[in-house]
């Protein structure tokens, strides 16, 4: 009997008021595809009153959780700015280096450059075509969903990024993109 493949469920859902419930929803969807989902809050850690030590424990436990998985599905919906959640980005890089396929979804179809331009009210220099931010730093323009290391890492991992538009009040809860990732992961691993 073969063990189900384990998927690390990366994303900012851990910060939702109903984080655990969202984890359970995602894990139930994984099961429908024959996968076993692993959610960061599954770790049962003994935390005390030292916040820094607790943070280190959670980080270590999450890394170990990824190490025990065969793939990652990451929610890269923009979080507190034009980019995805910092912890999620770290985990994508970590998983790519570990050789795990990473599938990702973003709950907006707007690409990275356009998000950055609109978030900060920037404009393109009509003469050079270059976009600079308020620190005169160049805004990369590679028609990508995220910073090129993320799109490139995911592509090289044999994963894929899905973008969909969702209603504003479902930005961090809509699971249509997550299902698209599950479907693609299922196809990747079902290949003979």
């Amino acid at each position: 009997m073969t063990q189900p493949l384990r998927i690390y469920l990366a994303g900012p859902e851990v910060f939702l008021p109903e984080a655990k419930e969202m984890g359970e929803k995602k894990k139930a969807l994984c099961l429908k595809y024959g996968f076993m989902g692993k959610f960061p809050l599954d770790n049962e850690l003994i935390l005390d009153d030292k916040p820094h030590e607790n943070g280190l424990k959670i980080s270590r436990a999450n890394e170990e959780l990824i190490d025990g998985c065969q793939l990652v599905i990451a929610n890269i919906t923009p979080f507190r700015g034009p980019s995805a959640d910092a912890g999620t980005i770290f985990e994508i890089g970590y998983a790519c280096a570990r050789g795990l396929p990473v599938f990702a979804y973003s709950n907006t179809k707007v690409l990275f450059t356009e998000r950055t331009v609109s978030y900060f009210g920037l404009s393109r220099d009509p003469a050079t075509g270059v976009i600079r931010d308020h620190h005169h730093m160049n805004v990369e323009n590679f028609t990508m969903v995220e910073n090129l290391m993320i799109d490139g890492g995911i592509e090289a991992s044999k994963g894929k990024i899905f973008r969909i538009n969702v209603p504003e009040d479902e930005l961090y809860t809509n699971l249509k993109g997550f299902k698209a990732c599950l479907n693609a992961a299922y196809k990747l691993f079902a290949k003979p």
Copy 2:
């Protein structure tokens, strides 16, 4: 004759108008400590008029550059929001999974939670002590420099994070924190 240890130089400097000059400055400082610095723009890539393909090429070349290094020094100064540059965060995760020690510096002493609170004008619930953002999502509070995956990953890698305050107009160019990283890296590798 031993080869000098190679350091991947991660950070948002690649977006500076004078990016190449900054890379040369950092590489010169590495040499003073007997290290060889590798800057993303060192890659000599043949790019054409397909932005997406170009982005993938750069990503692949940067991953290979990290693979050829023995450690990483990352500039995690907040970039376009409370968190570090997305590409830099990916590279830290990637390097941690590859087992490379990662040293990092931030050109502000303000910690992650306080940066997030002040950037978005949030406040702590006086009854529960919990901080929520405008999407009601929890703001993590672990007295860390960044999201806990970054602080935790760096700590586990045997690296270290340095924080210093710099004048506003030197936010992305001041190299005092970079030198602190070099010094710490030197000590780590000089250990008998």
